[in-house]
């Protein structure tokens, strides 16, 4: 029997296939189907700090501040007691508790925040609700040309530091690919107490509506090609850091997952493929993975992990700049294009 188990954030997981933050975890039935299909853990949909703030604002406006100072309508508030409503945060905490109650796999809460206050405030409550770990998605767009890369990095580290002081459960950071020195930065996070990093976040891309000339955020499902960037960086980190490594973005097949593991990932996150083809796909990927391991006579995932990392690759320079040159050399223009 091949041992698929893996260690992630100090948790022993049955296999390296973990659905990433997505709407799939909003629904208990879907979550159950994922578990039944073999998901080793579940990263919940992201709790957005802005959404919570907006919902609190809306509630405050609707319940408490609907006065316009007119004698006939001194309030538009429909109920005198607002204590009974469920906030966005309540919903999330409730869902954490429900999933914990109903599933036997670890549940990782995902928090997408902007302010240090928010992280600490909500992180603590997520821990109390029963989350096994926290995945922090720092959705920070460094658009300010007067802010240096070092300042951006120290912002992350500081956030993590504060949260570590507040919660005891493991914390993993979901990172953007846009850091100039990913390795160095991951080491800083590790030093600040991160138990893992998840590579990489896929940002919403602002699109331009040609008719209205408005900017509209878009997010399309990933393609397997995107996994390669992640694989590249996991390969580079493997062996250089002690924290857990996760690949997220572009894992659609067993082959994609195997490559990530070979590069050194502890887990691979799945999202687009599950959204597209249903939770049961995870089971098929697991079966395919088993088959490949069997065919290639691997006894365990542990054995496979990092076998083609930069440290162990047959030609480690292939991960470096040489690789770029090689690829460019091989590229041919379509016929008829003059160059």
């Amino acid at each position: 029997m091949i041992d698929l188990s893996t260690d992630y954030l100090g948790l022993r997981l049955a296999n390296p296939l973990v659905p990433s933050a997505s709407p799939l975890s909003r629904d208990l039935d879907t979550a159950r189907r994922l578990e039944d299909a073999g998901a080793a853990a579940l990263v919940m949909y992201s709790l957005f700090e802005e959404t919570i703030a907006a919902s609190e604002e809306a509630a405050a406006r609707f319940f408490h501040e609907q006065a316009i100072g007119f004698g006939e309508a001194d309030s538009f508030r429909p109920v005198p007691v607002a204590d009974e409503y469920l906030s966005e945060l309540d919903d999330y905490l409730e869902q954490v508790a429900t999933l914990k109650r109903s599933l036997s796999i670890p549940v990782i809460a995902s928090l997408n925040g902007i302010s240090a206050d928010g992280w600490v405030h909500y992180g603590r409550q997520l821990q109390e609700a029963g989350a096994d770990a926290l995945e922090l998605n720092v959705y920070y767009v460094a658009a300010d040309p007067f802010e240096s890369g070092a300042e951006v990095e120290s912002r992350y580290v500081e956030l993590l530091y504060q949260l570590k002081a507040a919660v005891a459960i493991p914390i993993t950071m979901k990172l953007s690919s846009q850091f100039s020195s990913v390795g160095h930065f991951v080491r800083s996070l590790e030093a600040a107490g991160a138990q893992g990093v998840s590579l990489f976040n896929r940002f919403y891309q602002p699109d331009i509506d040609l008719e209205t000339r408005e900017v509209t955020p878009t997010l399309t499902l990933s393609s397997p090609y995107e996994a390669l960037l992640r694989v590249h960086w996991v390969a580079a980190l493997y062996g250089k850091v002690d924290l857990s490594l996760a690949v997220t973005g572009g894992i659609h097949t067993a082959e994609d997952a195997l490559k990530a593991l070979m590069a050194g990932a502890d887990v691979t996150h799945l999202c687009s493929v599950l959204l597209k083809k249903g939770p049961e796909t995870l089971g098929r990927i697991r079966t395919d993975m088993l088959r490949w391991l069997e065919e290639h006579e691997y006894a365990s995932v542990q054995q496979l992990k990092g076998c083609v990392s930069r440290q162990h690759a047959i030609d480690p320079t292939a991960y470096d700049r040489a690789n770029y040159v090689k690829v460019m050399d091989r590229h041919r223009s379509p016929d008829g294009v003059w160059r």
Binding site: E57, E65, Q66, I68, F70, P78, E84, S87
Partner: protein, 1216 residues
């Protein structure tokens, strides 16, 4: 004995908390100032609060007060304990049922927050006009004079009615008592339990209609017995005062609070006594104590049980020493020789005197007077004046006190500066805030804090503005060691604390007139402490020096911003109050404020709580004491209220009201019949906008959308000859007119009225044009009003001097063209971003110069006709919409009456034309008669010709010496086509006025009905109507409205001659324009149902257009036009103007708090409602689609025979 725990609540809540505990059924309908009672009852039942018998009372919201009364009547007849709450016109609508309830001796209590009646004008404020109109119904009437009494008397009334079977009106003064927050003792459950007899409840049940022991009740009687039947109830009425007194005595034994039917207070040997009921008695009590302490011998006789009137008890209560009585009525009975209470007292004394054993050796002199109508102030100075009058040789009878009657000279003079010592040792504080800045709610909290944390008595009263946008609130707070009986506002030189929460008020109000010597003045100002002095007008500086004011300032908006509180400054200002006023130790006060914030936002407040705490903590460091200089240094004064060139009436009358000095307006200045000039809103410059739109002429395509959507008519277009631009101010913008419809030598301009703009930004939002090189720049862009204000003021002034484009040359069917028509509805006091006013303004542009408007009571009657000013205005020729608001319930019928009268006048004019044919000339007569035919189209060309014809007619008539010519002169104007508009909200059209609306639709008369559908009762604070969509949260529907919105359009289409349109200008403006034009042109009833986003929807109204768009795209609001004229032309009359729903219903409801809040409070119900609504909009669309796609019915061939002759009904089937 259980005196009860301390509560700090208002009169409405005090009353409702008793009523809810002793009732099983409450039938409710909103009306100010009673709405809150029904709302409390509804909310408590919604959260499962039980009555005395352990069951949750059932609350039913009705379509009118008439409906509520009838539902209560039914519930009583079926043996339930039933109640209702109302006021004013609502009470009048209940009268028919009240006779029935009393005639059947059904025990019930109707709680009334007594309010003025609509006579020469509507008023929402307090007096006894309404309750005096029901004294003949057979209901007993018990009057509470304070918040404590409102609670106690609610308990006594519910108990006594069960014991004596006489139904009761329990009333108290609207606003003064209903809305006063006071520290009182609760009536605990145990007290109610001990009072209310289960045996009597069971007896009531036993009398109920039941098929188990059936009876006939409500028979019709003939001359033989009806009279006797009326007299049969006498024993109950004779016994009832005794029952009420006995109940009061039991109540006293239970609580320690003793009451008498008529209660005397004052000197035992008083010679002069005032008789009064209601809250005024409290002020009299206070004044009597003060006068007697100074050696006067005066007294107060307070009337508690007004009906049945127990003359014996009245006489028994009066000291034998009384020589003169003044009876004060808070009502007016025009034409009577005295008001009701006065006449009752006179009768009681006269009867005693005529009887065998008179109470008085000599009949005391009795004078009657009126006071306090519509919450007019009733102060110790006035009360003293009445006592003084009583001491005169020949005191005035039928006097008034509190006004200056320089016409019939009824009024008594009084000393406005006269004070009692009631406030020695007390704190009086005044707070000037904006309606939306939370000042009132913070002050209510402060009262609670002080009420709960100290031994002090507390009182809070809140004076509201008549405006919705930028409303001003003044909070009057008192705290003191003795019970507070001062049922009047804090007067000049009295307040020890004055707070100005908005710096803009420095320009508007003389706030320090109210400040006492040595008072604290707290100012929220962006100016730093060292410069704030210079921002004060000179008069205010001088007052500060003269009164040795202690001056504090804080930049509360900065503190709020730093604490991420946005513009919420209420807790910051509240902290300042406690920090400076020393009512409580600072630390205790701050802890209490935080606790109150926590209570307000609840445990779900999340970070808003933290932000508040942060702001509270940061406040003290930002609060600065400012030392006063020796002399006033300011170089400016508060600007005049209206421009110096305003018309005489505006200067003398309107300006006084605007300045808050309306109390000083003498009777002679008042129009005798409630008639006021139009166009006065233009003189009230409110300067609300922080940003105004700036036009970019080179980008603009002159589409006309911005003036269309402006809720306040503050951006206008004009098309004038280019030659007129010679004298234009330097920065005045204009551009050559685009397009072929207008002369090339003309220029177009879009000009903003900077002081009337409210800064809502909707004009910029709708602007479709973007700069090709900079997408963020449109043809209109918002920019800070400074430094533009002065420049744009000059530009606006110049714009107003430019002529209007010839109406008959305007292409009305285009937006651009129609927006060249002058709006005759401008600068209303509607909310910023109001979704209703653009429709009204559009109608005024298209038809205003020949428009008659019947306006249902509601938001549109308030922003349309609440003094001091009106947005309805006139054109250069002096023509404009003639406007009246009859009532809430009768608007359609009222408008129909206008139409019928106009039609009759037209008919009469046509007849007179015929009669005078020979003198007038055949041609003129034929032309005028033809033009005035009802089927004539009302296009501008035709109107111009009709007007020219009438002008010519008038000239000719001058020379005709014939009585018929004189008669024709009076009706000649009716030969010009009139446009009758019946305007109101959904509360009117769907609920209270629906019966009348239906009848008017069926009448076939040419009226135009505009329903401004906000899908909720907006004016009274957001109660559910039948227009409220399924799943929306509203008052009376806290769990989401479970039923669907009534399809008024479909119902109206049931009549084949009704033009029906459903429009949403923010989704499709041209369809709206087309509908207005076609509706008006239709010779028959027209109904336009207009989607109107409202603040009650819980959306930021700067997204008004987006919400309209979503409503249409989701299928919530299908756009349609049903045109009978098309049917006549052999086409399908229905046109569906919006496409199949293109977005999910969820996408619409998620954007509005009225819907999405339900996911937070009742998530399962919300999902169910959503599914149902999604299904419903789809089905409705397909139903409409099918109707619109049906091939038209071929016209009936008169020669064709019916297929089967109808079968005549049998005798059994013929139910007639």
């Amino acid at each position: 004995m259980n005196a009860g725990s301390w509560l700090t609540i208002d009169g409405n809540e005090a009353t409702a908390t008793v009523a809810h505990r002793v009732s099983e059924v409450c039938a409710i309908y909103p009306i100010t100032p009673a709405s809150a009672m029904g709302e409390f009852a509804d909310a408590w039942s919604a959260e499962g609060r039980k009555n005395l018998w352990g069951t949750v009372p059932h609350i039913v919201a009705m379509q009118s007060e008439g409906g509520a009364a009838a539902a209560v009547h039914g519930a009583l007849q079926a043996g339930s304990l039933a109640t209702s709450f109302t006021a004013s016109q609502g009470l009048l609508l209940m009268i028919p049922s009240m006779y029935k309830v009393a005639g059947e001796l059904s025990p019930m209590v109707l709680h009334v927050a007594a309010r003025s009646l609509a006579c020469q004008a509507l008023s929402i404020f307090g007096d006894h006009s309404d309750v005096m109109a029901v004294r003949q119904t057979g209901f007993a009437m018990l009057c509470a004079g304070s918040v404590q009494e409102a609670m106690d008397f609610a308990a006594i009334a519910h108990t006594a009615t069960l014991a004596g079977r006489v139904p009761m009106v329990h009333f108290f003064d609207g606003f003064r008592t209903s809305h006063e927050v006071a520290k009182i003792r609760a009536v605990e459950d145990s007290v109610l339990r001990a009072l209310v007899s289960d045996e009597q409840v069971h007896a009531h049940r036993a009398r109920a209609l039941s098929p188990e022991h059936p009876v006939l009740r409500g028979s019709s009687q003939n001359p033989d017995v009806y009279f006797q039947g009326r007299e049969a109830v006498n024993p109950y009425y004779i016994a009832f005062p005794g029952i009420v007194q006995a109940t009061m005595d039991r109540f006293a034994a239970l609580t320690g609070r003793a009451y008498r039917l008529f209660e005397y207070h004052g000197a035992v040997d008083a010679e002069r006594v005032m008789v009064i009921m209601g809250s005024g008695a409290e002020a009299v009590h206070e004044t009597v104590d003060f006068l007697n302490a100074q050696g006067a011998r005066v007294g107060l006789l307070r009337v508690r049980l007004y009906r049945p009137f127990d003359a014996t008890a009245l006489l028994a209560a009066l000291p034998e020493t009384v020589r003169a009585l003044a009876v004060l009525d808070r009502t007016k009975e025009p034409g009577a020789d005295g008001e009701p209470l006065y006449k009752d007292v006179v009768t009681a004394l006269a009867q005693s005197h005529m009887g065998g054993d008179p109470k008085f050796g000599r009949l005391p002199r009795i004078i009657g007077g009126r006071y306090g109508l519509s919450s007019k102030e009733f102060t110790p100075g006035m009360i003293k004046a009445v006592f003084d009058e009583l001491g005169r040789e020949q005191p005035k009878n039928g006097f008034t006190i509190g006004i200056h009657d320089d016409v019939t000279h009824t009024s008594l003079e009084w000393d406005a500066g006269w004070r009692t010592d009631a406030h020695t040792g007390a704190v009086q504080a005044l707070f000037y805030g904006l309606g939306s800045d939370g000042t009132v709610s913070a002050n209510k909290n402060s009262i609670k804090i002080i009420g709960e944390a100290t031994e002090l008595y507390a009182q809070g009263y809140f004076v509201y503005d008549s405006k919705k946008a930028g409303a001003v609130t003044v909070s009057h707070l008192r705290f003191g060691p003795r019970p507070i009986r001062s049922t009047y506002l804090i007067g000049d030189d009295e307040a020890q604390f004055v707070a100005c929460h908005q710096p803009v008020f420095l320009q508007r109000y003389d706030m320090l007139d109210k400040a006492a010597t040595g008072a604290v003045f707290l100012l929220n100002s962006p100016e730093p402490p060292e410069r704030v002095w210079d921002s004060l007008p000179r008069r205010m500086q001088q007052q500060m020096i003269d009164k040795r004011i202690r001056f504090y300032t804080i930049d509360a908006y900065q503190v709020a911003q730093d604490a991420q509180m946005g513009k919420r400054i209420n807790t910051i200002m509240q902290t300042c109050f406690f920090a400076i006023s020393d009512v409580l130790p600072r630390a205790q006060a701050i802890a209490a404020i935080k606790a109150a914030v926590e209570k307000t936002y609840g445990r779900k407040g999340g970070r808003i709580l933290e932000f508040n705490f942060r702001a509270i903590d940061a406040t003290l460091a930002s609060l600065h004491a400012v030392p006063l200089p020796e002399t006033a240094t300011s170089g400016f004064e508060r600007p005049p209220v209206v421009a110096p060139d305003a018309p005489d009436f505006v200067t003398r009358f309107t300006a006084a009201l605007l300045a808050g000095e309306g109390d000083r307006v003498p009777v002679s200045l008042m129009p005798v019949d409630g008639t006021f000039p139009l166009g006065t809103a233009a003189y009230e410059k409110r300067n609300l906008a922080l940003e105004i739109p700036v036009w970019e002429p080179e980008l603009c395509t002159q589409c006309g959308k911005c003036p269309l959507v402006c809720p306040h008519s503050a951006i206008r277009s004009k098309l004038v000859p280019a030659s007129l631009m010679e004298n234009a101010p330097e920065n005045f913008k204009y551009r050559q007119a685009l397009g072929r419809d207008y002369p090339q030598d003309h220029v177009m301009m879009y000009q903003v009225a900077p002081e009337d703009c409210t800064g809502c930004g909707l004009c910029v939002d709708i602007c479709p044009i973007r700069d090709k090189s900079n997408a963020s720049r449109k043809a209109l862009n918002m920019a800070p009003i400074e430094p533009l204000r002065a420049q744009e003021q000059a530009n606006w002034a110049f714009f107003l001097t430019l002529p209007e484009y010839d109406r008959s040359a305007v292409k009305r069917t285009t937006l651009k063209g129609s927006m060249l028509l002058e709006p005759l509805f401008e600068f209303s006091s509607a909310c910023v971003g109001c979704g209703e006013t653009p429709y009204i303004k559009l109608a005024s542009q298209l038809f205003g110069d020949r428009m008659l408007v019947a306006n249902a009571t509601g938001c549109s009657s308030i922003y349309g006709g609440n003094l001091p000013t009106t947005p309805w205005t006139v054109n250069a020729a002096g023509r404009g919409p003639a406007w009246n608001n009859s009532l809430f319930e009768d608007n359609a019928e009222f408008g129909l009456g206008l139409r019928i009268a106009v039609d009759k006048q037209t008919e009469y004019a046509r007849e007179l034309l015929c009669d005078l044919r020979e003198r007038l000339g055949e041609d003129l007569v034929a032309e005028l008669r033809a033009a005035a035919r009802p089927d004539q189209q009302g296009d501008e060309q035709a109107i111009a010709e009709q007007r020219a014809g009438v002008a010519l007619l008038r000239q000719v008539l001058q020379d005709i010496d014939d009585p018929r010519a004189r008669a024709l002169e009076t009706v000649a104007d009716a030969l010009v086509r009139r446009s009758v508009w019946i305007i109101g909200g959904d509360g009117w059209a769907y609920d209270i006025g629906y019966g009348g609306l239906d009848h008017v639709l069926a009448s076939g008369r040419n009226v135009n009905i505009l329903v401004l559908d906000t899908e909720v009762y907006s004016n009274t604070g957001g109660q559910m109507s039948k227009a409220t969509p399924r799943g929306a949260v509203a008052k009376f529907a806290a769990g989401g409205k479970p039923t669907s919105k009534k399809d008024l359009a479909l119902l109206a289409m049931g009549y084949d001659n009704v033009y029906v349109a459903q429009v949403a200008y923010g989704a499709r403006d041209t369809q709206t324009l087309r509908a207005f034009l076609d509706a008006e042109a239709h010779d028959g009833p027209s109904l336009i149902i207009a989607y109107s986003p409202c603040i009650a929807h819980g959306v930021d109204l700067s997204f008004n257009h987006r919400q309209q768009d979503l409503a249409v795209a989701s299928g919530h609001w299908p756009l349609l036009r049903y045109e009978p004229a098309r049917a006549a032309a052999g086409k399908n009359p229905l046109r569906l103007d919006s496409a199949e729903p293109s977005i999910r219903y969820r996408e619409f409801v998620e954007t509005e708090t009225r819907f999405n809040m339900l996911w937070r409070s009742h998530p399962d119900a919300a999902e169910t409602f959503l599914t149902e609504s999604q299904q419903e909009v789809r089905e409705r669309y397909h139903r409409y689609r099918q109707l619109a796609d049906l091939p038209p019915e071929p016209p009936v061939d008169p020669a064709a025979r019916p297929a089967e002759p109808p079968i005549p009904p049998t005798a059994e089937e013929d139910g007639s």
